[in-house]
Amino acid sequence: MLTETMYQDYLACLIKGDRTRCAETVTSLLDRRVEIKTLYLELFQKSLYDVGLMWEANKISVAREHLATAITESLLSLIYPELFAKEEKTRSVVISCAVNEFHQVGGKIVADFCEIHGWDAYFLGANTPMEQLLGFIDEVRPDLIGLSLSVYFNLPRLKKEIRAIQSNFSRTDLMVGGQAFALGGEKMLSSVANINYVPGLDELEGILAHG
């Protein structure tokens, strides 16, 4: 139901900053009962990856990249009435961005994806201070914790954060993911025990199904 033409049209509007037209596409797909998962995978995630590639190739400015991200975040709220099902959820997950990590949309998409799969997903947002994160985990006592990292240079801070979480909540499963790892950050993880690296939403589905 989400055709290539529709996708290309959506992407063009996203880069142009035409939020209204993008919202119309999302609303129309929701009206046609397109699976929410499809919207996350084939519209939001795909377009953000494409926008990122265009920026890397100097085809668009950083301002346009930020605009496209901001529009996408606002479009996610169109999905929320469908996403947060009115049913008891027995498993919970806390998703957060690392300290000094200001790119949050990837983490938010992961949190929403967890909701789709029946998890109660709390999202703490960009640049969450470590004390705040540890305090929240202590309060909620989730079954799973996820940390998102987009910028490679923040890896040392993430490592520190992982150690703090593991020493305070040794029995809680921990996963990490984000674009930083696609650029070589995965090597860092080899020095950290008991951590799941999740390269994408497809792999996340596997973890959520068995979690």
Binding site: A63, H66, T69, A70, E73, S74, L76, S77, Y80, P81, L83, F84, A85, K86, E87, E88, F102, Q104, K108, A111, D112, F123, G125, A126
Partner: protein, 199 residues
């Protein structure tokens, strides 16, 4: 591209306002960017008219004498307001004693705004998410409250309750299913007397 072509390109495309004025502020010429922003040379006769000048304090003669840049706000043809730092340069060596007015935006302003807008958008979208999540939980709780309202058919002898599927179930089972209450066994004084008092 030679240097004069480069200057022409710059004045046409860079986000700067470049106007040639008379000493009284009358507009003679403007660069392409200014024309796009202001709607063309014929749109205004005087520089003073393009300003959003709330207290009418702008004085052309003072502006020309000032060595500092003046921050002035202008409304575009679309009605958008934008502030520019203006430098006024007299061209004493040119005929007609023209004044060059050169206006540029504050790049720091834009950078600051871009960062803040991204921040605010993130916070707003996180709040929307929290709100929707809480709303879903609230609706779920309301549904439970609704289930416990109204008339509940109860057997006058064994006190079993008839549920939505027309099945009679134990009161304890019904409460367990429809509320968050935990039941703890005990014996009331009447039953204590009835079942445990020796005759």
């Amino acid at each position: 591209m030679d240097s004069s072509a480069f200057v022409r390109y710059l004045t046409d495309h860079a986000p700067i306002l470049f106007l040639t004025l008379g000493r009284d502020g009358s507009i003679f010429r403007m660069n392409r960017y200014a024309a796009r922003f202001l709607g063309g040379e014929s749109a205004f006769r005087y520089f003073q008219d393009i300003l959003v000048n709330f207290n009418d304090s702008f004085d052309m003669a003072e502006a020309v004498d000032s060595e500092d840049a003046l921050l002035l706000s202008i409304a575009s043809t679309d009605g958008d307001l934008q502030s520019f730092y203006f430098h006024f340069l007299t061209q004493d060596d040119c005929p007609g004693t023209d004044v060059l007015a050169f206006g540029h935006t504050d790049a720091e302003d834009f950078s600051l705004m871009q960062g803040e807008i991204v921040n605010l958008n993130q916070q707003l979208s996180n709040m929307t998410r929290d709100l929707q999540k809480k709303n879903a939980k609230l609706e779920m709780a309301m549904e439970q409250v609704r289930q416990l309202q109204g008339i509940i058919p109860i057997c006058m002898h064994c006190h079993k309750i008839r549920n939505d599927q027309e099945i009679w179930e134990q009161l304890e089972a019904y409460l367990y299913e429809h509320t968050d209450a935990q039941l703890s066994h005990g014996i009331c004084p009447d039953c204590m007397e009835k079942y445990y008092t020796e005759d």
